[in-house]
Symmetry: C2
């Protein structure tokens, strides 16, 4: 069994120097460092786990659970989480859960067995009961899972309200809403924001609310039907950008001019909104900040081994592009 002394002897340095190299702690002359590393390699020295992880960097691991990897919002969020975790020398893995509680529990179990250090979870199905069984720090993202967990969210309801207010400020008189899937937490809050603004308007009809399932194609079909049944509609608030892109495609299909005859606003602020023609106006989440914040909070919990519960709420911001008329 090779020991730290053997390494020190071969490299002709003290064991303290070897330790400094292993722990990347304190100054070591680069040439000396190289000699120590070579000795370690030559002797195939395996330091203990902690030292090894410090030496190799990043054997520590964090997992992010997202409900739908195909919705570009989540890769954008993942990118931010990854940058922060890498910066802190954590390895970062991404798990797609389909908002399916069976899959979520399987991931939680499997990754706990692999000694994952912590979780960032976007979920509409995980409950307090499930969380109590998990023996690692968790930060809830996008939706609050339990009062016992730190969370990072956005002002969905207020943001939705602002989207509708904005459409009104551009002169819209009949505003429809394409909403997300029933099981997603923010479907409800965004719908509430829409209703806050329109429910007392004389023109409002419940048939102005159509399902889009956070899906391009479903939103497109719903919008075609909506605009065919209700040609009086002059603006649409889509519950996310993917559905906003679907609504744009529906309008193109029906030969309706956007924004001259129909304004469309989305929610999220994902890159896809810039790739449509016309580009999609949206209530943009600060996606990068949200992901970074969640990662920072989790790493702090892991490092401090404390459980101070923090809740951060970010604000969405209007991004005016070309799919809405100018304000009056």
């Amino acid at each position: 069994m090779t020991t730290i002394k053997d390494v020190a002897k071969l490299a002709d340095v003290s064991t303290a120097t070897v330790s400094r190299v292993l722990n990347s702690n304190g100054y070591v002359n680069p040439t000396t460092k190289e000699r120590v590393k070579q000795a370690i390699e030559q002797l195939n020295y395996l330091p203990n786990d902690v030292a090894r992880s410090l030496f190799k960097g990043r054997s520590k691991m964090i997992a992010l659970f997202v409900p739908d990897i195909m919705n570009p919002y989540f890769p954008e969020l993942a990118r931010a989480v990854e940058d922060v975790t890498n910066h802190h020398e954590y390895t970062f893995v991404l798990c797609n859960t389909d908002d399916d509680i069976e899959k979520e529990l399987t991931y939680l179990n499997a990754l706990q067995q692999k000694s994952v250090d912590g979780f960032i979870i976007v979920s509409s199905t995980i409950s307090e009961e499930h969380i109590n069984k998990i023996n690692a720090p968790i930060v809830a993202l996008d939706r609050i899972l339990s009062s016992k967990l730190s969370s990072v969210t956005v002002n969905n309801r207020e943001g939705a309200r602002q989207a509708v207010q904005y459409l009104k400020s551009t002169g819209a008189k009949r505003i429809a809403h394409i909403c997300g899937p029933d099981h997603a937490g923010n479907t409800k809050t965004r719908l509430q924001g829409y209703l806050d603004e329109v429910k007392n308007d004389k023109w409002f009809l419940s048939s102005y609310i159509v399902p889009g399932e956070y899906n391009f194609e479903i939103a497109k079909q719903s919008t075609i039907k909506l605009l065919t049944d209700h040609p009086e509609i002059d603006a649409i608030f889509a519950g996310n950008d993917l559905m906003g892109a679907g609504a744009l495609s529906a309008a193109a299909n029906l030969g309706i001019n956007v924004p001259a005859d129909l304004s469309i606003i989305g929610f999220d602020g994902i890159a896809i909104g810039e790739t449509t023609t016309p580009a999609l106006t949206t209530m943009a989440q600060p996606i990068y900040e949200i992901g970074s914040k969640a990662a920072e909070m989790l790493i702090q919990q892991i490092t401090d081994n404390q459980s101070i519960i923090k809740s951060e709420e970010f604000k969405v911001v209007l991004k005016e592009r070309q799919s809405t008329r100018a304000r009056r």
Copy 2:
């Protein structure tokens, strides 16, 4: 220490029945199964690792390395890999590498320490030398990393050639190419396919090849410059769909009518091509089949513990949408 006999006794069944439940192997009456599970829980019985992993399912793990999680091609690929790995009761994690060899090696080391069972790798930087150090099965995806590894690829060069042939069949006379980043393997093969078809044409100019970095915005800016410098161009072959969307946006910006005055074809067949206006014609990869195949091959290697090298090449298929003129 609780044993399997204690569980059998409490549940009032044979140890063989408990074993069948643990191993999900052979028929057990659902009521009996429930009773066994309750007994296991009540006694807090911990079967050995193998049995436990079979019981809980999926403590086994597979990792997919992709160079750019923000390019929707990779989430679509990940979706396919995940479906197959879940079907075989493996947990699936996704790692974003930025085609950065440092990150790739860090992931390989960290995940090996966590006992990941195998890797599916999309990389333009990992070499034979790195692979030799990895003590787990690897399947190379999209690009062949070593003759010692199984691989799943597509006919990039032939597909690119077909894209250009198709543009010619619609009457295009001056065809430009937006290419990917230098470091990506398929940038070169797709460019070669383009050159195969145009290099002997009298009209061909090397300035018809512009960089797009597999990025929407960069492709858009390159296309604006290209079409301003060369108004004679009547068709563009974009090396991937993201850049195709960028080219569409550039045309809209310049007031050029697609497809009447300019045909644009992409490559990959990702969903974003259906969200643009007009929808993007493309050489579609069978993304789902590619991902599934790679996952099947990897799981077979893990299960059989053999190293039979297989190479699968899939063919891309023309998907005609609205961004190209009709064939003559």
